[in-house]
């Protein structure tokens, strides 16, 4: 068929898929990508990471609404959102090390523009809870000077755009209950076990199904 002006939709789809990948590489090389997105496998399911020139802006779990997140990135940061692996190399490497047990602290630069002002305060306090330790909503509330705002703290943690790296999983209920996690309690439990902050329960496995 080569030499004729028409190609079938299926052929065009296949050829343009390859061409689009080539374009993504060139776009990154030309510095045209404002928000680079990439996915990576992890013991808590595939993760989507979003990185800007300022740093890591977002991480999403595979059952989060990714389309919604990517639209939010376009809306609030820049519409130049493109799949590009290279800008996310550092993030993916540190996350891999964390899951392999060889990293306790992340050294990534963060882009906090997706955090609302109150959440920014809450998450800054949360970022100081060390690996392997937990704290309570009330303690964080007190630490940011709003001792009665435990519930608002919970909501702010639930809006954390950068879970795992900003360790909102280390904040639990006063009675020692895990209470809640935007990524699902099973993930919170897994992360705390990984960090040795919680005794492993028999039969607890990295999951593949939903909670």
């Amino acid at each position: 068929m080569s030499g004729t002006p028409k190609i079938s939709k299926a052929e065009a789809d296949a050829a343009s898929r390859v061409a689009a990948d080539r374009f993504r590489l060139a776009a990154d090389e030309d510095g045209l990508v404002d928000v680079a997105i990439a996915t990576m496998p992890s013991p808590v399911g595939e993760l989507l990471v979003a990185v800007t020139r300022r740093g890591l802006a977002a991480i999403a779990f595979d059952d989060d609404s990714r389309d919604e997140l990517v639209e939010r990135l376009a809306d609030e940061l820049s519409p130049r959102v493109v799949e590009a692996a290279r800008p996310t190399d550092e993030t993916r490497r540190e996350l891999e090390e964390y899951f392999a047990g060889s990293r306790e602290r992340f050294e990534l630069r963060l882009d906090r523009r997706l955090m609302h002002p109150f959440a920014k305060q809450v998450l800054a306090a949360t970022a100081r809870v060390p690996f392997g330790e937990v704290t309570t909503y009330g303690t964080i509330a007190t630490r940011i000077g709003h001792p009665s705002a435990a519930r608002a703290v919970g909501a702010a943690l639930g809006s954390n755009p950068i879970p795992i790296v900003v360790p909102c999983h280390r904040v639990i209920g006063a009675g020692g209950k895990l209470t809640g996690y935007a990524g699902g309690l099973h993930r919170k439990e897994y992360l705390l076990e990984l960090e040795g902050a919680m005794a492993p329960r028999l039969g607890t496995e990295p999951w593949t199904s939903t909670s």
């Binding site: 028409k6 065009a12 997105i37 639209e71």
Partner: protein, 154 residues
Amino acid sequence: MRTRLPPFESVLEDTRGTVYRYLVAAVGREHADDVFQETYLAALRAYPRCTEAARLDRWVLRIASRKAIDHHRRTARAPIPVADPPEPAAVTVEDAGEAVAAVAELPQRQRDAVTYRHVLGLSVAETAELMECSPETVRANAYQGLKSLKGKIA
């Protein structure tokens, strides 16, 4: 109010097939990939200032058509690598139908009208919007284009 633009990644995914088909018709299969790159790099560069959020497919196709024209200007200046230069390459058409070269050699508006209408299968109204002209102009250009294609092929 600021226009809400979707992530460029979804524009790319939604339009790449159509743009590729258009480019195969406009510049030929062997150049489609390169002009595809030029098209989307230009689109990404201009994207934050794009005011056509509602018609992004048309917006990208218009850029593709400008890049196809640039391509023809470049190659028109360069010697054309055909065996018998005086004889238009379009005459050596296979029975499959219109050759890329034949479409590519049409005047720009005829080429666009033929490509949008008969290669991409857009309606007259859609083509008119894309070419920024009246439906009558689309019909006239598509008719003239097809007529001279038939002349070349016959």
